[in-house]
């Protein structure tokens, strides 16, 4: 658990981050979202002390981060940035091994770790370990950047606009990969983005910042249904907030909560339980049906989803 206690950063007269306090849950993805100049990157960098706070403090598992030299603290915290920041004069394997080397791991421990990570990011070690960063595609470079940040198995990973340089299709894939990686390693992730869609897609909790202040810090659904500030409502988008709300729940979640269980009628469309309600709605509108049969990942029928159930879920309460 990470606790930020009225963290403030001033440069001369300008207050970039203004008394931000928040608690970041262990083993989840927390997203800090805001427009450029909102202070979100500065806030993130104060966690690993790339920026030293003017006042306030950061506690990781109850311990003040100023209790040890900054560079030693940073070796325990993964850090991935936009445009990956890979070292062009080092191979992929050497890049990934950066922090293990700094921690003086023996070679026989580094090599298997590098290969494990390459495989976890769908890069064949035999083909990619000895390549140089410029020989990779943008998406591959980004994956190596994240693999490098995770190399020494940090329990906390900070990411500053990690997908900012990717095109939309690769970006969606990278976001899915990050969710999978987070589940696999159980890492606590704090991610900064300016993209509200990305925040909603990845964040278990989302912090909305503007002009150095933390406007609201809550679950994504609560940001939509109970915005604490008119600016939050504007940033989360009032035009499509119903659809955004639907996108936060999967069909499986709704059925599990006792959504509907009518017997399947012949000719109804079939949808997977992993789809979001937003996608399910789109599917229903497209096929012109008012109900769909839901099947689980194993293909077993789970029940029936009705248009009315989706409609009820997308309504402001």
């Amino acid at each position: 658990m990470i606790t930020l206690e009225s963290l403030t950063k001033r440069y001369g007269d300008a207050t970039v981050v203004d008394a931000v306090s928040m608690t970041i849950e262990r083993n989840t993805i927390t997203v800090i979202v805001g427009t450029s100049g909102s202070g979100k990157s500065t806030l993130l960098r104060m966690i690993n002390r790339l920026v030293e706070p003017s006042s306030g403090r950061v506690l990781i598992e109850g311990k003040d981060t100023r209790g040890e030299p900054a560079h030693l603290l940073r070796r325990r915290i993964g850090y991935a940035i936009q445009g990956h920041g890979l070292f062009p004069h080092r191979t992929v394997a050497e890049n990934i091994a950066t922090v293990p080397h700094l921690l003086d791991w023996p070679d026989e421990r580094i090599k298997p770790r590098v290969e494990e990570l390459l495989r976890a990011f769908e890069l064949d070690p035999a083909a990619y370990a000895d390549k140089y960063p410029h020989q990779l595609s943008g998406g591959q470079q980004q994956r190596v950047g994240v693999a490098r940040a995770l190399a020494a198995g940090p329990s906390l990973l900070l990411m500053d606009e990690p997908f900012g340089a990717l095109d939309p299709i690769i970006r969606a894939k990278a976001q899915d990969d990050l969710l999978a990686i987070q589940r696999r390693f159980g890492t606590t992730i704090v991610l900064v983005t300016h993209d509200m869609d990305e925040a909603f897609r990845l964040g278990a909790r989302v912090a909305v910042m503007s002009q150095g202040r933390l406007l609201q810090y809550d679950r994504p659904a609560a940001l939509l249904t109970h915005p604490a500030d008119p600016l939050v409502a504007r940033m989360t988008g009032s035009a499509d907030r119903a659809l955004r709300l639907l996108s936060l729940t999967t069909v499986g979640d709704l059925l599990g909560a006792g959504g509907a269980a009518a017997p399947p009628a012949p000719g109804t469309p079939v949808i997977g339980s992993h789809l979001s309600l937003r996608d399910a709605l789109s599917e229903l509108l497209w096929s012109g049906a008012d109900r769909a049969q839901v099947i689980g990942p194993d293909g077993a029928p789970l029940g029936t989803l009705t248009l009315a159930a989706i409609r009820a879920h997308g309504k402001a309460d």
Binding site: L50, H71, R75, R76, I81, G85, P88, H89, V99
Partner: protein, 246 residues
Amino acid sequence: MPRAATLLRLAALLLLAAFLWQPARFAPLFAPLTQYGAPAIYDQGNLLQLTLAHLSTVCLAAIASALVAVGLGILVTRERGREFLPLARALVNVGQTFPPVAVLAIAVPLVGFGEAPTLIALFAYGLLPIFENTMVGLQGCSRELLEAASGMGMDARQRLLRVELPMALPLILEGIRLSLVINIGTATIGSTVAARGLGEVIIAGLLSNNTAFIMQGGLVTGLMAILLYDAVGLLERRLCRSAHVH
């Protein structure tokens, strides 16, 4: 490097080696340049030894220039050393603009005749290209890259040794290469203050009006400059195959 060029350089190297090993055999080639039966090949000293002395003076000076210039370049690109930038710049600029002959004239009364004043003149003359290239190379490291290095837990020293210097290495080597080549030629003036080197051959030629001597000294110096330039270039490509890409 294309094949033909490689062969040409190899031929130049062989020719130079053969001439220095057995200069007497080349006498018929140089004989037409002499008058009144003067010797066609320099006979007041061993050409091979003079060449080696010349080379060692230049290399010694280059090593000293590189150490000081790279050190200065590192200093002025650090946060704490930034204020020294104007001073360091002025220093190396003076080294470059002050003619080496003038440096010799000043140095001789201080350190006497021989090797030492030449070393001082070459050292001062060779600082500028190395210093400027080191600085540009170190400043060329993107902020993003330095931030990534710090973010992963490198301290200032590790960042310099593992990221900044390797990234700047191609440019630093380029500076050393330039300074070496300039000084191979410049070192010939050392013979005016009794340093051993190929300048001796040229000066002997000038004094006795022997064009053959002048040609020998000049050709050996020139060939050496070209070959050294290529050799360092080769080394550079070997060392920084990957860092050359941007």
